[in-house]
C-alpha cells in the first residue's frame, strides 16, 4: 500500500536520508526503529508533506500510496484525500481547545457524518479517561492523556493509515504498554500502522515487521520476532 522508493531527503545542506526504501502493506503494523538522528522522524514528515520549515526537502525518490505519488500533494490533502494521519512527536495537541474540540476539529474534512458519531464512541471506548475529561482544556491533561488525545484525534480524522512518532516518549512503562495495546487493537480492527520508536523492545513485541535505521539508511529489516532474536539488535537496542 505504502511504497517508499530510494528516498533522498535533505534539510538545507544536510543530507538526512540517503535513499531509503520500504513498504507497508494494508492492515500491517510496522515499526521503524533506530537511535536519535537516524532519520525516523524525517521519514514520517516526508510522507506527510508538511511545508517548510517543519518539513525536509525530498530531492530524489518517490512515495507511492495506493499507487499515487504523494510528492507535490499538500499536507492537508494527504490527510483528507489520501487518508494518512500523523501523531507527531511531542503530541502537538491544541492546548487552548477542550478535549472534545480537539477531537471535533479532526473531523473538519470528513463527509461521513453517520460514521463520525460512531468514531467518537470508539475513541471514548478505547480511552475512557478522555470521556471523563471531555470538556476540560487539553493543556490540563497529563502527558499520557495528551498522547491518548493525539491518537484519538488522528483516529477521528477518519484515516485508514496512521503514522506515530515516538508515542511512548515520556510515559511510564505501564502507560506505554497500554498505548501499544490500544494500537494493536486499532490495527486488528483494520487501521494500518507505521510506528517510529526508540523503545525497540516494546515495538517489536506488537508490530508485524520492523525496519532498523542508522544515519539516514535502512540497515536491517524483517519480521518483528526475527529481529527481536537477532543478536546484533539485542546488543544495540534491547540491552
Amino acid at each position: 500500500m505504502l511504497e517508499v522508493k530510494d528516498l533522498h531527503v535533505r534539510y538545507g545542506n544536510i543530507q538526512a536520508l540517503h535513499g531509503i526504501s520500504f513498504t507497508v502493506k494494508e492492515g500491517e503494523m510496522v515499526a521503524l526503529l533506530g537511535a536519535n538522528g537516524a532519520g525516523k522522524t524525517t521519514t514520517l514528515l516526508s510522507i506527510m508533506r508538511l511545508p517548510p520549515p517543519e518539513a525536509p526537502l525530498v530531492t530524489k525518490g518517490s512515495i507511492l500510496y495506493k499507487g499515487v505519488d504523494l510528492i507535490g500533494v499538500p499536507p492537508h490533502e494527504v490527510v483528507s484525500r489520501h487518508g494518512i494521519g500523523l501523531v507527531p512527536e511531542g503530541r502537538h495537541i491544541f492546548g487552548n481547545l477542550t478535549v472534545m474540540e480537539n477531537l471535533k476539529i479532526a473531523t473538519y474534512a470528513r463527509k461521513d457524518p453517520a460514521n463520525i458519531q460512531r468514531d467518537y464512541e470508539r475513541v471514548f471506548g478505547l480511552f475512557p479517561r478522555l470521556a471523563d475529561r471531555k470538556n476540560q482544556r487539553a493543556d490540563t491533561l497529563s502527558g499520557g492523556e495528551q498522547q491518548m488525545l493525539a491518537m484519538g484525534r488522528a483516529f477521528m480524522s477518519g484515516v485508514g493509515f496512521i503514522l506515530l512518532d515516538e508515542p511512548s516518549m515520556g510515559l511510564s512503562p505501564l502507560l506505554m504498554q497500554e498505548l501499544f495495546r490500544v494500537l494493536k487493537e486499532l490495527n486488528e480492527a483494520g487501521t494500518t500502522i507505521l510506528v517510529v520508536e526508540q523503545n525497540a523492545h516494546l515495538a517489536l513485541r506488537y508490530a508485524h515487521r520492523a525496519y532498523v535505521m542508522e544515519t539516514g539508511r535502512i540497515v536491517m529489516e524483517g519480521p518483528a520476532q526475527e529481529l527481536a532474536e537477532n543478536p546484533e539488535i539485542k546488543k544495540a537496542y534491547l540491552g
Binding site: 507527531p88 481547545l97 476539529i105 473538519y108
Partner: protein, 308 residues
C-alpha cells in the same frame, strides 16, 4: 445626570467604532501572530467603497436602477456589498503581501513592516487615485433625533451600538462553535498540527482576513454615516487607536477587542467632558500607559513567549 448619560451614550458609540476595528487586529494577530498595521486603512477603504456603492445605488453615476429603492434598503445593500468588496481588498493584501513572506519563512518583524508599508500604500494610492479633496458620504438614513428626558439620542447612534453588540455575539459564536472558528483558535496554539487535521491553513487565514476586513468595512460605513467626511488618512489615527484598544483588551481575544474598544471610548469621552478637548489624547493615553505598565497583557491576554 443627563450630562452623564449623554456622555455614556457617546462613549458607547465611539467604543463601538474602536471595537469594530480592533477586532480585525485581534483576529489576525490571534491566527498569524501578525500585527496587521494596514488594518486601519482597510477601515478607510471600507468607508470609500461604501461611498461609491451608495452613490451607485442612489443613481449618481450614469447607471440608474430600474426601480426606486427605499433608503433603508439602499443602506442595507450598501453595507453588505461594501463588506464583501472590502474583504476582497483585505484578502488581496494577504495574498500578494503576507503570504509570499510566510511561504519563505520570513521573520515576523519583516511581515509587520510589510503591513505598515501596505497601509501607506493604501493611503497614498487613494490620494493618487481620487485626489486630496474630501468627499461627503451621502445621507442614506434620514437622521432622527429622540429626546429622552434631556438626553438626545440619534437613530444612528443606536444603530452603531446595536451593530457592535451583534457583531460580538456573531464572532464569539463563530469562533466557539464552528469548525473553522476552532481552527482559528487552534492555529494560534500550534500551526504545525493544523494541516494534520485535514485543514488547509490558508483557508483559515483567508477566512480570518474576510472576517476582519468585513467588520472594518461595517465600521467604516457606520462611521461615515455618523460623520460623513471622507479623506484618505481617516483610517490612520483611528486605526492606531483601535490597535491600542486591542492591546489593552488583550490582543488575540475577541472579547478583549470589545473591552479595550469600549474602555478607550469611555476614557476619551469622559476626559473630554472634564478637560479641554485638546488635551484629550494626551490624558487618555497616559491613563492607558499606566494601565499597561500594571497589566502588560491587557484585560484578557495571556503572556506569550514571543510577540510582534
Amino acid at each position: 445626570m443627563e450630562v452623564f448619560l449623554q456622555n455614556l451614550l457617546n462613549a458607547l458609540q465611539w467604543g463601538s467604532f474602536y471595537a469594530l476595528i480592533a477586532l480585525g487586529y485581534t483576529l489576525v494577530y490571534g491566527v498569524l501572530l501578525l500585527i496587521n498595521f494596514a488594518h486601519g486603512d482597510i477601515f478607510m477603504v471600507g468607508a470609500y467603497i461604501g461611498f461609491f456603492v451608495a452613490s451607485f445605488f442612489l443613481g449618481k453615476y450614469a447607471f440608474h436602477l430600474p426601480l426606486d429603492l427605499p433608503p433603508s434598503v439602499i443602506f442595507l445593500l450598501t453595507l453588505l456589498l461594501t463588506m464583501a468588496l472590502t474583504s476582497v481588498v483585505g484578502v488581496t493584501l494577504e495574498r500578494v503581501a503576507y503570504r509570499p513572506l510566510r511561504r519563505k519563512g520570513a521573520p515576523r518583524l519583516y511581515v509587520v513592516i510589510t503591513a505598515l508599508m501596505c497601509g501607506l500604500l493604501l493611503e497614498n494610492g487613494n490620494l493618487a487615485l481620487l485626489g486630496a479633496s474630501r468627499r461627503s458620504f451621502p445621507e442614506l438614513l434620514p437622521k432622527a433625533v429622540y429626546d429622552l428626558g434631556g438626553v438626545s439620542v440619534t437613530n444612528i447612534k443606536i444603530l452603531v451600538i446595536i451593530a457592535a453588540l451583534l457583531v460580538f455575539v456573531f464572532l464569539e459564536t463563530v469562533v466557539r462553535k464552528t469548525k473553522l472558528g476552532m481552527a482559528m483558535r487552534a492555529i494560534s496554539y500550534d500551526r504545525m498540527a493544523v494541516p494534520l487535521m485535514g485543514i488547509p491553513v490558508d483557508t483559515v487565514i483567508v477566512f480570518t482576513f474576510v472576517l476582519g476586513s468585513s467588520m472594518a468595512a461595517l465600521g467604516g460605513v457606520l462611521f461615515a454615516t455618523a460623520y460623513p467626511v471622507l479623506e484618505p488618512y481617516m483610517g490612520a489615527l483611528i486605526g492606531w487607536k483601535a490597535f491600542i484598544a486591542a492591546v489593552i483588551g488583550g490582543i488575540g481575544e475577541i472579547r478583549g477587542a470589545f473591552a479595550g474598544g469600549f474602555l478607550l471610548g469611555f476614557i476619551e469621552i469622559f476626559v473630554a467632558a472634564f478637560f479641554p478637548s485638546t488635551l484629550r489624547d494626551l490624558i487618555s493615553f497616559s491613563i492607558l500607559l499606566v494601565f499597561l505598565s500594571v497589566r502588560p497583557t491587557g484585560f484578557f491576554g495571556v503572556a506569550r513567549a514571543t510577540k510582534i
